[in-house]
């Protein structure tokens, strides 16, 4: 549950180091996470892999966030 919730908040635009984030973004991130988890089940992927997907979502979201911040700085 913690992993999913943090992933939802981060996908919704929250910055893990603090200061940035919206409640609406968290809801949108939660929707995305749940849709994709549901689709993983529908596509026949084992539920044990869901944590892997959610964790990789966090990494990708943080990566995008960093890239965007770097683009804003330069």
């Amino acid at each position: 549950m913690e992993l999913t919730v943090i992933a939802a908040a981060v996908i919704g635009g929250a910055n893990l180091s603090g200061g940035i984030g919206t409640a609406f973004g968290a809801v949108v991130g939660a929707a995305l996470i749940e849709v994709i988890r549901n689709s993983l089940t529908l596509l026949g992927i084992s539920t044990f892999w869901q944590g892997t997907f959610v964790g990789s979502f966090i990494i990708v979201a943080v990566l995008f966030d960093r890239l965007r911040a770097r683009g804003a700085n330069e």
């Binding site: 919730v5 943090i6 910055n15 200061g19 919206t22 939660a30 749940e34 689709s39 529908l42």
Partner: protein, 240 residues
């Protein structure tokens, strides 16, 4: 945006996704995550991460289930569940307060793990206070700005039962250090001076002791500002 794209793509990729039952399933699972993610966003914005959401979710669910089983009303159930969640938040706040107090003392308790190399707590001979994290400092500033609390702290003539911590003969009331908030400056004396500025020249000694002058029990006719307040000690600023 990405959620909409994923939704559209999946409804084409899988013939089961867009059925009513599946969408109901998705939204039901989504509600859990969304509600908690809103609260988690607030925690993450303030610079932390709450690892107890799963436990709090299950515990509040159990409390609500048991109260439901006992036949209480829905509002009472909600209040009981919210009480549980608030208790979790209080634990968090108390933990923050203890850490901040340790940081003010400059001791090596909780403060070491969050002290930055340039912060001046670790390895400093006098144990200068650790600069608080920005989120905590903001919270403390908010508290300082709260007019009632500030007035209570700066009030030289408190109401007879308001702040009655001092002994009868000794009119100095000890103000707990954490009530002043975390230090915004390195030097403690400087902080005390700043606090004195805020109190506009009212009684103030050091940083830890307020000199408070308790009012005599007010007669019902006398209002607060009619000049019946006891004058400061005859020796003027003898207390400073």
């Amino acid at each position: 945006m990405a959620a909409v794209v994923a939704f559209v793509v999946l409804s084409f990729a899988s013939d089961v996704f867009a059925t009513q039952q599946n969408l109901f399933n998705v939204t039901r699972n989504f509600a859990f995550v969304a509600i908690i993610a809103i609260g988690m966003t607030a925690v993450i914005i303030s610079g932390g991460i709450d690892l107890s959401v799963g436990a709090v979710l299950v515990l509040s669910g159990m409390v609500i289930g048991m109260t439901m089983n006992a036949g209480m009303s829905i509002w009472l159930r909600g209040a009981a569940g919210a009480r549980r969640v608030a208790a979790g938040g209080c634990d968090q706040r108390r933990d923050d307060r203890l850490r901040r107090r340790a940081a003010v003392r400059g001791d090596a308790g909780h403060a070491v793990d969050r002290a930055q190399p340039g912060d001046g707590a670790v390895g400093q001979p006098h144990g200068l206070p650790v600069r608080p994290r920005p989120a905590e400092a903001a919270g403390a500033r908010r508290r300082l700005r709260r007019p009632a609390a500030a007035a209570a702290r700066c009030d030289p003539h408190p109401e007879p039962g308001a702040v009655s911590a001092g002994a009868a003969g000794d009119h100095r009331v000890r103000v707990p250090l954490h009530a002043l908030g975390p230090p915004r400056v390195r030097d403690r004396r400087q902080r005390g001076r700043r606090h004195a500025d805020r109190c506009a020249g009212q009684a103030h000694q050091g940083q830890r002791l307020h000199v408070l002058q308790p009012r005599a029990p007010a007669s019902p006719a006398s209002s607060r500002w009619d000049g019946s307040a006891p004058s400061p000690p005859a020796s003027g600023r003898a207390w400073s």
